[in-house]
């Protein structure tokens, strides 16, 4: 196919305004100006008619069946889900948890924490053992001395006992000495 007729152009200064006029994108002042010009200019009128015939043909989009759009939507949502799974991979660890498990575990953890704090601060003492008064350290330091003095008292007592028993012992020893030397002449 060959072009059968030479192309008739619009007036150069109005061509752009005519395109905008077709799209309804010119201002009110421009629109009035174009309309006044069109009344007197055949090439510009022809140009605008061409646009009104040509451009709607170009716009015709290929009609896709509904199944195409259903499939398109499903695929897109699936791709978005895959993206979420990659980005928030750590969520899979918590996936088995049901909604009721979260507050349950939370309450349990809070209870454990409270009990731990109470025992840790020694505010809750459940033991029923009697309290044993502790001996102050300065007293404990003299304990060995106390024992020493106590042992000294025992020794003193022993020496007293020995002193009481001493005369008898001397007599016995004296008699024993005589017996031991029978051949001696006094």
């Amino acid at each position: 196919m060959k072009t059968s007729a030479p192309l008739k152009s619009a007036c150069k200064q109005y061509e752009e305004d005519l395109v905008l006029h077709y799209y309804g994108e010119n201002s009110e002042g421009e629109r009035h100006s174009v309309e006044r010009h069109l009344a007197d200019c055949d090439p510009c009128r022809l140009f605008l008619e061409d646009l009104r015939k040509l451009l709607p043909q170009i716009t015709q989009a290929e009609e896709m069946p509904q199944s195409f759009w259903d499939n398109y939507y499903r695929e897109t949502v699936s791709k978005l889900t895959s993206y979420d799974e990659k980005k928030y991979w750590w969520r899979s660890f918590f996936a088995p948890m049901r909604t009721w498990m979260v507050p349950a575990f939370g309450s349990l953890a809070a209870a454990v924490l409270v009990v731990g704090l109470m025992f840790g601060n020694d505010k809750l003492n459940l033991s029923i053992e009697p309290r044993v008064e502790r001996i102050p350290q300065e007293i404990l330091a003299d304990k060995s001395q106390l024992e020493f003095f106590e042992s000294m008292e025992i020794l003193e007592a022993l020496s007293k006992l020995e002193a009481q028993d001493e005369p008898k012992t001397d007599v016995i020893n004296h008699d024993a000495g005589r017996a031991a030397m029978p051949g001696q002449v006094a």
Partner: protein
């Protein structure tokens, strides 16, 4: 889910930012057709358009917390789709040109066949129109094409196109005008 579908984009985005995935799913359902069509207009291939537009949803979701609400969600999201499509076009330029050459050859064969045997019917004209549009869009500078596709195919206002493309409205007007002029030139014989 039914209640969430009633929510506005800003509310859905705010809830998605708080980790409500199902709210983002609503945004997917709301914009999947537009995202697919814009990717298709760039790539002219169903599977590639599907992959690219789905990828755009993934990127939007991954960066949803960075969305500060200065523009609308769809402007922000379209920018992601368009950038992905432009990246894809850069990577696959060679392939696109090869397929374009193939299309041109097939088109030539059909022309000969039509001229010698049959009068062209509406279907053939529509097919030829599509091929010529594809070819013109393919050879058009990227920014012109992007501006045209966003305005003509997606119905974004010029102000929104400018936000998506991070340029001024005046520049978008120029791109749009040039793109339309090029398409008119290529399609005039079918009018």
């Amino acid at each position: 889910m039914a209640e969430q579908q009633e929510l506005r984009d800003e509310e859905l985005v705010a809830l998605s930012q708080q980790g409500q995935r199902d709210c983002f799913d609503v945004l997917v359902r709301r914009y999947m057709e537009k995202a697919f069509h814009i990717a298709f207009n760039f790539t002219r291939d169903t599977e590639t358009a599907k992959d690219l537009s789905q990828d755009a949803f993934l990127r939007a979701y991954a960066n949803i917390k960075q969305f500060d609400g200065r523009s609308s969600f769809y402007t922000w999201f379209y920018r992601i789709v368009v950038n992905l499509c432009l990246d894809h076009a850069r990577r696959h330029r060679r392939v696109a040109w090869e397929s374009l050459d193939q299309m041109a050859e097939e088109s030539g064969e059909q022309e000969q066949f039509a001229d010698s045997t049959f009068a062209p019917d509406e279907h053939a004209i529509a097919g030829e129109t599509k091929r010529r549009v594809d070819k013109t869009l393919e050879t058009m500078p990227k920014k012109q094409r992007t501006a045209f596709l966003l305005r003509n195919h997606q119905g974004l206002s010029i102000a929104d196109v400018a936000k998506v493309m991070k340029t001024t409205e005046g520049t978008v007007r120029v791109y749009l005008h040039r793109a339309v002029a090029a398409l008119r030139q290529s399609l005039l014989e079918f009018v």
